[in-house]
């Protein structure tokens, strides 16, 4: 080989070899835990900081692995488990998302921590059902979110002459009419499939009632959609479409909240994470905006949440870290500090909630009434079926499909799922 060729070959070998020779930094830290989650915004970061600080204080080392987007983060966790480099803990939702992982034996259980901390007694039923699979605890819950609060702008209500929060569906429609007459956008809506899905099941829970809701999502009753009561719910749900503005399709949920914040729109149906947007705009609950969780004093409180699962790792040090994480996450002080920053409510009711905001305090009080707790659909049905139902709802919302056809499509989806 000539000089030039040799030089070229050496250069390339060097370039590639340089990448091979690069080593990751040494990892000899006490109770090292790599935690994979999807909390990446400013507010969420502050919340994670509470968890990390608590863990560090308990003698651990927190290595952060954040990936925005729930699906991306969960997929990354699964990919890493398949590839043999799993994180110490990975975030999921209280749902059926991680059941397949349990079936394939890829998750470790935390029964030890659950027994030591009395999880059976202190956790609400929907959460317990989501994390206790076949008698073992496979996930640690960190928060409870309610995906269907009604947020409203006090200025907009004042302008439209609405005196009090609506207590029934009819009162809501009356309020929306008043907002329309006042020249405001009555319902701030983001026309993305997941938002339409949330609005639908919130409407079903409030207007159809918890029994009908459970019949659909827990029992998967194929004959339910054909009943006139269910069709009535579908019809009144579609009626909401008259109160959204022409620009609602495709809109991000934050942009809809922005309309409420600016007083351009009256009401938004969105989860309690919306408080983050209000906080960024320096608005406080009870002052510039109000919140109510549903229609009337016995409205259902939809329970969703985030959990962390623990991939099965054969390293006793890692197992110790996992158990320490589980203990720290559920400790009362951590729960309060985290909920404060996150906008969620703690997973246990035996904590001091004076430092939480108005809406969160309301939520905690409601949670004490067990009859009002309602699990979100993802806790009851597989992601696949949830997706199929979402397709039905989004088509119904966005086209002129008749109520009968939508009901038929729903029955078909239930049958196939």
């Amino acid at each position: 080989m000539t000089n030039k060729t040799t030089r070229l070959a050496l250069a390339l070998a060097f370039a590639f070899g340089a990448t091979l020779g690069v080593q990751s930094p040494a990892q000899a830290q006490a109770n090292r835990a790599e935690v994979l989650h999807w909390w990446t915004s400013g507010g969420e970061s502050a919340a994670v900081k509470e968890l990390a600080t608590a863990y560090t204080k308990a003698g651990g080392t927190w290595v952060d692995a954040a990936i925005a987007g729930g699906e991306q983060a969960r997929a990354a966790a699964v990919n890493r488990m398949v590839g043999g480099t799993p994180p110490t803990a990975a975030q999921f939702n209280t749902s059926k998302q991680f059941l397949d992982l349990i079936d394939q034996g890829m998750l470790a259980n935390v029964d030890v921590v659950a027994a030591a901390n009395n999880w059976d007694k202190i956790l609400p039923a929907p959460i317990l059902n989501a994390i206790k699979i076949k008698g073992h605890f496979y996930a640690v819950p960190v928060d409870i979110h309610m995906p269907a609060w009604f947020w409203y702008s006090k200025a907009a209500f004042a302008k439209a002459g609405i005196a009090s929060e609506p207590k029934t569906a009819d009162e809501l429609f009356a309020a929306l009419d008043k907002l329309k007459a006042a020249g405001l956008v009555p319902l701030a809506f983001g026309g993305q499939p997941w938002q339409e899905k949330i609005t639908f099941y919130a409407w079903l829970a409030n207007v159809g009632g918890p029994d009908m809701y459970m019949k659909l999502y827990r029992d998967k009753d194929v004959n339910l959609p054909a009943t006139p009561q269910f069709k009535a719910v579908l019809a009144s749900f579609k009626k909401l479409h008259n109160y959204v503005d022409a620009g609602s399709p495709n809109r991000n949920w934050n942009d809809a909240t922005a309309m409420v914040i600016a007083g351009k729109a009256g009401v938004q149906i969105m989860g309690d994470w919306a408080k983050g947007e209000f906080a960024t705009a320096h608005q406080t609950a009870g002052k510039e905006f109000g919140c109510f969780p549903g229609f009337g004093p016995k409205s259902p409180y939809l329970v969703a949440g985030d959990v962390f699962v623990f991939p099965k790792i054969n390293d006793p040090a890692q197992i110790k870290s996992q158990q320490l994480l589980a203990t720290v996450f559920t400790a009362p002080a951590t729960q309060v500090a985290f909920s404060n920053k996150k906008g969620s409510i703690p997973i246990r009711t035996d904590v001091d909630v004076k430092s939480l905001d108005l809406c969160a305090q309301q939520g905690v009080t409601i949670m004490k009434d067990v009859s009002r707790q309602l699990p979100t659909p993802e806790m009851l049905i597989s992601p696949d079926l949830e997706g199929s139902l979402q397709d039905v709802i989004t088509k119904f919302w966005n086209t002129n499909e008749s109520v009968d056809d939508a009901a038929k499509a729903m029955s078909a989806a239930l049958k196939n799922g």
């Binding site: 997929a75 998302q97 397949d100 026309g191 499939p193 809109r251 696949d384 949830e386 997706g387 966005n398």
Partner: protein
């Protein structure tokens, strides 16, 4: 002159091509075979080795969303490719007219290619939103009947996506065409002037055919984008309103990641691949046929040339 030691020469070439062969076999053929295997199983979040026959395929074609996604891809593909080729060609021709600030103009048309769609898609969503963007602005200028709400309409949302996609891709096509134009010999223009042929005729009848190769490469690159179109749809409309802007890649990825249904996703990607193969196979065959003919002609010419030389 005969080729020396053909076997050894082929061995060296094959040795150099080893990475390509390994890639083709291991990565592409291997993954496709694996994916096909999964498509006849009931895998959800993780691969399972059972066998359920063609159940996933039946479910696939029962799915309104999948059928719609194929239709959308066809519509998008036709408009996008034609749009990019035409606009790219026009831009290239116009820039080639020795305009001032050519470098600046070229950069202006190329910069969209540098940006990923995650943020630019959101900007397009805002701009095309009737309440927020162009429609509202033009109405504010005093044209109350101006409508530009494609993106919120079921029947027109794919057009909106085509607009954003063409914006991003036609700079590259323009560059390809411009280079092709620059490669055309001087004498052609002189001859045309002497003959008195009008400029536009020259472009249409002479230049365009000469740009055949550039157009061919652009076509391949654009086709790959059409089949894999995902980012622009997710960033602009998330497949909405409703299901109206669903595309195959999004269907596949949704089922892979969100709905924990990799059996269905694999079936969908197998169908997609077969569709692509069915469309490409005639083109590949025609190219291979043409090149083999050209090679035979070239070899014959070389043979006769050397014969003539040694005679």
């Amino acid at each position: 002159m005969t080729s020396r030691r053909p076997l050894l020469r082929h061995l060296v070439a094959w040795a150099a091509l080893l990475p390509m062969v390994a890639t083709v076999l291991w990565v592409y053929v291997g993954s496709v075979l694996w994916s096909m295997r999964i498509s006849v199983s009931s895998s959800r979040t993780l691969p399972i080795g059972d066998f359920v026959g063609l159940k996933q395929y039946a479910r696939l074609f029962d799915s309104e969303r999948w059928v719609l996604s194929l239709q959308n891809m066809a519509l998008f593909g036709a408009l996008f490719i034609i749009g990019c080729l035409v606009i790219g060609f026009l831009l290239a021709v116009f820039i080639d007219q020795r305009v001032r600030a050519e470098g600046v103009l070229r950069t202006i048309f190329l910069y969209p290619y540098a940006m990923s769609f995650v943020a630019t898609g959101l900007v397009w969503q805002w701009m095309l939103n009737p309440e927020l963007g162009l429609q509202a602005t033009v109405r504010g200028w005093g044209f109350p009947n101006f409508t530009f709400d494609w993106i919120v309409r079921q029947d027109a949302v794919m057009l909106a996506i085509v607009v954003a996609a063409v914006w991003q891709a036609c700079g590259l096509v323009m560059a390809l065409m411009l280079a092709g134009l620059r490669g055309i010999d001087e004498s052609l223009w002189m001859a045309a002037r002497i003959e008195g042929i009008p400029k536009w005729r020259v472009y249409l009848s002479i230049v365009l055919p000469m740009l055949g190769p550039s157009i061919g490469t652009a076509f391949v690159l654009l086709s790959v984008s059409v089949v894999k179109v995902f980012d622009v749809v997710v960033a602009m409309t998330q497949g909405g309103p409703g299901l109206a802007s669903e595309v195959p890649a999004k269907f596949i990825i949704d089922n892979l990641l969100v709905r924990a249904n990799i059996g269905l996703a694999s079936a969908a990607s197998t169908v997609l691949l077969l569709t692509v193969l069915a469309l490409l196979a005639p083109w590949f065959y025609a190219r291979a046929h043409a090149s083999r003919r050209a090679e035979r002609v070239a070899r014959a010419l070389r043979a006769s040339a050397t014969q003539g030389a040694t005679a």
